[in-house]
Symmetry: C2
Subunit: 143 residues, 2 copies
DNA sequence: CTTAATGCAAAATCTTTGCATGAAC
DNA sequence: GTTCATGCAAAGATTTTGCATTAAG
């Protein structure tokens, strides 16, 4: 090996397309939906490649990953200033970044108080946005 | 209907066993692990029944559910004073309930400010406890 | 006796892997 | 010319559903 030891990235049309589609989709999107969008756009790419590319992006820390209520992984390009938390509409998928400073501080304090190390936190907020509040009344808030 | 309108609960040995095993396991446990434990204990119960019972408990709000990194659902009997948040050790599974009042308040305010309704929140904290901090250095904090 | 619960096997998902072909360096 | 990426099909894994049998009210 005479070049980049680790970091063997190889730019291919498929990877570029996945990245572009990922950024085009606003909010979180599943691997399958992303693949469908790509195919619909006329891009020739296999579902396998979409999964593999997303896994690479995840490993490299370039996407945030959450899970929906079915356990499906949803991806979103990470805003370049670190990780964020989102409030996602269960009905239309609208996702808004929320100010999570308080939570960040809370996590830091908990970590120190309890004596844990390398604490990761995941905060997922789902609700129903104003626009979608028209004719539905199943889930109640569980707070 | 002359009795309990909804709430058609039918106490069976299997359901009792699932509940007992769930309480016996300290910390979060998967449906499959729970089933394995039951079978190992000599209880005759099908995996299907375990899943169905856990789903009922979840609907009734009697268990907290989180997902591990493989997307597997993990269940834990809910302490009878509402829902809680836990800090779980990635190494040994030790789980501690943490004071989450601040987060609850934060969620309430976000909900009001942004104009969302029926907001659910999931907060998952994972780290490494003091006891396990002896020889391991893979995941870094992502905060 | 009527209604619901059980459990096996099969189905339905989402995701990963084996392997031959084709593209990138 | 090597080495890595692609993509199909098949395998893996977790959870749900169909349906006949059994148990509870």
């Amino acid at each position: 090996m005479h070049e980049t030891a680790r970091g063997e990235w190889r730019p291919t049309p498929q990877r570029a397309a996945v990245l572009e589609a990922l950024r085009a989709a606003d909010g979180f999107i599943s691997a399958q939906a992303l693949h469908a969008a790509l195919v619909a756009d006329g891009v020739t790419v296999g579902l396998t490649t979409v999964y593999r590319t997303l896994r690479l992006l995840e490993t490299a820390g370039h996407v945030d990953v959450v899970r929906d209520s079915d356990g499906e992984r949803l991806y979103r390009p990470r805003p370049d200033d670190g990780h964020r938390h989102y409030l996602v509409c269960r009905e239309c998928g609208l996702s808004l970044a929320v100010d999570a400073e308080e939570v960040e501080r809370w996590v830091t304090r908990i970590q120190r108080d309890i004596g844990f190390h390398a604490v990761n936190h995941t905060v997922e907020l789902t609700g129903v946005c104003d626009g979608c509040l028209s004719g539905q009344a199943d889930r109640r808030p569980d707070s």
